[in-house]
């Protein structure tokens, strides 16, 4: 087991290095740099910049360095915890990202929990009641859940909620709570703001997982040991939940690895509609304005999240299913 973990961790480290290299290369692909964008803006605001000042800016941002030098500067600083300075706001990248990453991850974990809590019971019900009308309703609902783009659902929910009861629109807090210390009222306000985001984020994944859960359970229910369990007189609930579900749940554990980063990323569109300060809009903004240190760091960080998620899923799977440990 230790060997297994070590091998996976080393593999992940190597991948992460390559990913950071390729990721940075992709991010700096577009011609020009944020410096051009900045200078244009400064020129538009007030006349010409002196040549010396432009030169100073060039030096500072290192825009003329060859790619490898830029990469090395960025990655060596990153390893020391200094992710560089965002070109746009002169804030440190770390500060800009971590503020938002926390919200993003918190939101995603909540959505993940929601997904599991909903999809497992519904999947089990739909498998044990196959070809009854609730099963058809669930199946159709799944297809809708998979087909409706998240941002549309966010819009519709927002409209319905704001028309029916006083749903606050956008942001994480109402203005009066924004800077207030944490209190029960603030928590309630927070929940009022984010419930739509959580549901919207979770709907697609829930629909997918419910289908997977149903298909797996149907496979498992055909196995002989289920027949044996029934034959020896166990109650149906024990047969389903103790014997069948435990063996049908592997893919759900495996999906954990891809689901978490997917949720963190998936909120990009939704966050724009709900105007929430999360990582998605920041990434989009950084890409558009060619803020390469910021965009590169986010891309690599999300990749790291994906790899760590996969690792965790593998370990969890090895823990749940002894057969995985063998190879």
């Amino acid at each position: 087991m230790l060997n297994f973990v070590l091998r996976r961790v080393v593999n992940m480290m190597v991948l992460l290095v390559v990913v950071s290299f390729v990721g940075f290369w992709i991010i700096q692909l577009p011609p020009g740099s944020i410096l051009d964008v900045q200078m244009q803006r400064l020129r538009a605001q007030g006349g010409n910049l002196p040549e010396s000042q432009i030169e100073a800016l060039r030096q500072r941002y290192g825009v003329d360095d060859p790619f490898l030098v830029q990469y090395w500067k960025w990655i060596s600083r990153s390893l020391q915890g200094d992710f560089g300075t965002s070109f746009q706001t002169d804030q440190s990248v770390a500060e800009r990202i971590f503020n938002r990453l926390g919200i993003s991850i918190g939101l995603s974990l909540t959505a993940l929990l929601f997904t599991w809590l909903v999809s497992i019971p519904i999947g089990v019900y739909s498998a044990t009641h196959r070809y009854t009308w609730p099963d058809y309703v669930i199946t159709l609902a799944q297809f809708f859940g998979l087909s409706i783009p998240g941002f549309l659902l966010a819009l519709v929910l927002l409209i319905v909620a704001s028309q029916l009861w006083d749903q606050p629109i956008g942001g994480l807090f109402s203005t009066q709570f924004a800077d207030a210390p944490w209190s029960i009222a603030k928590v309630v306000d927070f929940i009022q703001h984010i419930w739509i985001a959580v549901i919207v984020l979770a709907v697609g994944a829930t629909a997918g997982l419910t289908r997977v859960m149903r298909a797996n359970l149907l496979d498992v229910l055909n196995m002989q040991y289920i027949q044996t369990a029934r034959a020896k007189g166990l109650t149906e609930a024990v047969v389903i939940w103790k014997h069948a579900v435990r063996n049908a749940i592997h893919p759900l554990v495996m999906s954990l690895g891809t689901l978490l980063p997917a949720l963190v990323v998936g909120e990009a569109l939704i966050a724009i509609i709900l105007s929430m300060p999360t990582i998605g809009p920041l990434y989009l903004d950084a890409l558009r304005s060619q803020d390469m240190y910021l965009a590169g760091t986010i891309l690599v960080m999300l990749s790291a999240l994906l790899l760590i998620g996969n690792l965790l899923a593998d370990l969890l799977l090895a823990w749940v299913d002894p057969r995985v440990r063998l190879d």
Partner: protein, 375 residues
Amino acid sequence: MATVAEQLKQSRAPKKTEDVGSIPQWKLMVRRFRQSKLSVIALFVLLIMYALMIFGDFLAPYPHNELDSNSAFVAPTKIVWGPQGPGVYGITQQLNQELLKWEYTEDPSIIYPIRFFVTGHEYRLFAIIPMNVHLFGLETPPGVTQKVFLWGADKEGRDLFSRVLKGSQVSLTLGFVGVVLSVTIGSLIGTTSGYFGGPIDNLIQRLIELIRSFPDLPLYMALAAALPLDVDILVRFFLITIIIALIGWTGLAREVRGKVLAYASLDYTNAALAVGASHWYIITRHLVPNAMSHIIVVGMLAIPGAIGLETALSFLGLGILPPAVSWGVLLRDAQTIQAVVAYPWLLLPVACLVIAVLSFNLLGDGVRDAVDPYG
């Protein structure tokens, strides 16, 4: 009245059963496919959508980018039955000074008739035949510029119906072409990887692992952001298609590799090798056809994702860019709740998108069941 013996005899007489083995496989597939009613409906819906797309320029009454400052945010026009057949009421525009919003009032005393097969703006049917006939249009006296807006107008007064038709030409083809490309790449690379094994396999698997280490959407966004902005619409269309294909092939390649690994050691592969077949021949004649049903299913199920991806990228301003239109571009108008509450018809492109994606999902599901008719 029949005796018990006769009844027994009747019930034992073999029902009209067919020998499944004697029916060609494609017939079994069609039969199985037709069993899933939802998939058949989805297929018809998609056929209609693609037909509308192909004849889009003929059906669209106005050029999709024609601005009309007199018609900003006109609601879908009400069709009435006038003395000369279907028509629309005359509409006057005035500014609501309090809300700073254009308002439109109908004048039931004036009815402009809708005419069919009218001449309008020039276009090329199927991108080849130059034509200027449109299915319908409004006949107005000279000096009146009123239009018929089946699905309302956007903030520039452009006809949403024409725009959705034009947008479908991008949205319904880009995802499809992207998936065809990625399926081709994926099945070839996957087969190669599984067939040759050894260092080639290892290299390909590491490459796949690398690509899959990136989260999808951010990687697509980064690549799309790297595309040049000042290229022709068609070039950008293909560049985005290629991006979708370049990342999308990895999942399929993995699955195909697994299948091929199993086939590669089978007798018929060895027999083919023994009689001197080339690797290329074995891959294209024996291995790919065997994995074909699987490849088709994965491809079908990938199309809705690709369509959604194009929409998402365009919505974010990284995919198809105005003045070109796709459904994602049209959705940009519907991204604030204020706009949607005030002008709900801006959500019509969303409805089209949902119907298309839902139909592809249902169709893919039916095809998945159908390709294995013996199961």
